[in-house]
Amino acid sequence: MDKSRYAFGWIVLLAIIVSILGPMTVRAADNQLPPLEKQLIETLRSAAPEEKAIACKQLAIYGSKAAVPELAKLLANEQLASWSRIALEAIPDPAADAALVEAAETLQGKLLVGTINSIGVRRSAQAVDRLAARLKDKDAEVASAAAVALGQIGNDKALKTLRQSLAGAPPAVRSAVAEGCILCAERLLADGNGRAAAEVFDTVRKADVPKQRVLEAIRGAIIARGAQGVPLLVEQLKSPDKGRFQIALSTARELPGREVVEALSAELASAAPERASLIVYALGEREDAVLPPAVLRAARSGDERVRLAAIAVVGRLGDASTVPALLEIAAESDAELSQAAKTALVGLPGKKVDVELSRRLPAAKGNSLAILIGLVGERRIDATPDLVKALDNPDKSIRSAALTALGATVGPKDLKVLISAVVDAKNAADAELPVRALQAASVRMPDREATAAELAAAMPRASTATKKASLLKILGAMGGPKALETIAAAVKGGDEKLQDAGTRVLGEWMTADAAPVLLTIAKDSSSENKYQIRALRGYLRIARQLDLPDDQRIDMCRQAIAIAERPEERGLALDALKRCPSAEAVELASSLLDDKEIRDRAVETAIFIGEKIKDKDPAAAKSAGEKALEASPPKELADRARALTAP
């Protein structure tokens, strides 16, 4: 694809700029400037506002100090000041700082606020004195902007000014002064000066400032102190104030160190359940998280909300040593707790967990055995002998669990166990679970062709057509040449149930190699074949949905149109044609313009393709339009067709 297409918007923009500039007088002092910047500066001097605006955007990228004087003139212009600052904020030269600081001397109201904001963004250190003076401005918006700008500049002088102003600032400005202080403190902290940062945070958190500023300062004060901030963290955890408790929860996740874990663990004992559960989650989401004993205790007993949270954390941070506790909980009668423990056991990291679960399997009985078998399956632990033994257990739920687990774990050597479970099942109901297990196992076998051959070989052993159909479905889920060959043979075999199952499977085939098989079935008009339409629709699904070369897709559409007796399938072929816009596709779509049943759809397809190929093949597009018009389409389509025929 042409690279220039992507830069089109950009090129158009530049072209517009150049075209609107017109003839210009280049001033002598500008002679050394690049031509584009010269043109843009000239635009600022003389052009209409909208042209000046776009010139500002360009000067943000290409401007130098030479552009600053003209840009500065716009700072007092209510319509263009913001455009001007786009450039002035971006031009690296100190002349831009000077221009903004100078403008801040004379501007008022919103224009002054904007200019101060830009000074803050540029962190213009030379502006500190003037911003300090603006802290006392009677316009609270101006004073607030100055405070935040000082915070963004963040040097010693700016911080000192802000701290001195905090207590005495008018209420409407105090929040911004506090914000400025916090910004300075954050910078100190980032520079490794935690002690100084903590002092600033303390000043803010103890000041009469809005609650959100206090919370930010509390967070900062804790983090700046590191381990020594833990008492302040605990104070917030104990606070009846929801906001303080919440900031403690998020800060507890950020602050590293064992002291934090110990403090949170200690809080668990005394906190109300609704808070304790939230403390547990915080413990579970720390970067240095290890499982605290208090969480394991909380998982074992106590309030259910706290237990559920603790079980989830054990599942994330526990190890093999926590298996017994979780298994005990999994065996409890409370369904939610039991399920939470099972989920935790499935997610518990480490191979030692697998070993511990396998070790317990031979001696387990009843519900414990069912839980263990389920876990073996979910964790995909290789325990085939024990699972095969469990297939003979008198308890049906255990036999079912074992089958499911075998589906998830059995290897190629033992696949025959599941094949036998399917083909030897007494009835269809008994075969349902083995079929699911066999499918789960078959699709994950490393050599799928060999597995397909093993399943194909089992077909004659299946005593009923239902069982054979199940095997076909499994083969369909696997895909591959052997599976396709087996299904094709079954469909040709004359058994209606197998034809039904086979054509269903082929209709969902994920590769194009099923197309010839489906086409053969679709063409078979013998009375034994009840699935011609289904096969044709499966064939067209491949043409419409799968990734195919255009010529193959068009050929498939041609074949389908030739044999499709119903308009529905001819319409599907037209849909597929839209995926490969070309002169050939136009021709094929146009061949259906005489077909009364789908004429409008054919017209729309021809036009659609014509519109797609208009640029690369105008003759074919015109032909599409002309053919569409010959079919006397409805007005909307006729208009589109005429557009294609226009020179």
Binding site: G114, S250, E285, L308, L546
Partner: protein, 431 residues
Amino acid sequence: MNSRRPDRLSRRGFLRTSVGASLAASAFGAMPIPSSALGRDGHVPPSERITLGGIGIGNRGTYDLECFLEQNDVQFLAVCDVKAARRDAVKKLANEKYGIKDCAQYRDFRELLDRDDIDAVLIATGPNWHATAAMYAARAGKDMYCEKPCTKNISQSLALAETMRRTGRVFQAGTQRRNLPHFAFACELARTGKLGKMHTVYAHPMGMSALMSGWLPAEPEPDKEVVDWDMYLGPAAWRPYNAKLLDGFNFEKGGGLVGGGVLEWGSHCVDLCQWALGADGTAPVEYNPPENGQIVARYENGVKLVLRETGWIPLGSCPVRFEGETGWVEAGDSGKLVLSSPELIAGRTVEEIDGYPATFHVRDFLDCVKTRSQPKGNAEAACYSHIACHAANIAIALDRKVNYDLEKHEFIGDREANRLRSEALREPWRI
């Protein structure tokens, strides 16, 4: 210091694991939170509900809001919109939902943010306002669900993450695909090494041109009570009223200079690629301009991020594909997955949910409002996926390769690219 969930990796961690060392650390899923653990399984008394306000509730916002209204632990209290018709429509929706008459209406979102009784806000304005409104909300002490694209440039992306960290607020970007099972599973396969050592991830940008919104001829400006043009412009540079610009969806997206399909769709699909690589705290360092229908970007460890329009298996909109040395997976909005081997999904049931609903994403956000955890579309994740999109757009705009320094957050040796990292806001707004 950053607050991170254990299922997310630092940049260093991403680099280490992607070159083939142990991937076990990234195998964590989100912390499962049973409904009863947070007391949301039955009737929730009004005093314990999360109180919500809506800012900029148009078509998408109404959809999002309906997802919130489905939750029994949410109470919607107020709507702010610069358009009277939208204010009235949302008020009607909320009043009918609750059988009340007093859903409050505002034209200026700062009045809504001033209310102490509102815990969280839904920000669904056009992209012009997203980052600015989000940062005002954070400074006002609100948690927020913010539609995407969340930022207009790289500078805003960094400021967004920093502001949320500093203020301790919970931020969820409207990247709802992170909470859809099939996308999450595809990302998990990549992130946990099931596809082998990762080498390429693919995203669908839906257009690769650098766009800008313009200055259209002036039209008579409506009364402020009908459409408040000044508030609509907000942080965007001034221009006269023109009704055609009222389509908030496209207005000033990406700062009005860059930000076409790569930002619009990349904030979803590039974001998924980042998650798949466990790269939420990092971004590619090299971005090439489009060539042969593709934009190729590279991470520090050599993994490629490819944005391409064609070559997708038909799985609906917003497809992604993740390729490792031993396997691949592709997923799209149909809810379907295609895998290089069925074995990758053996033993797992992955729910196929089409139509990319936001319900699960909203739920994730609300749970995190309670637990103070980081939601899946948290500010840092959004920051870096947006940086990747903005940097790709800058490569398009300048039509040359640009290299990005992740430590300094600047382009290496490219003054023009660096000047496109940020853009001044119209007075009196700031980030």
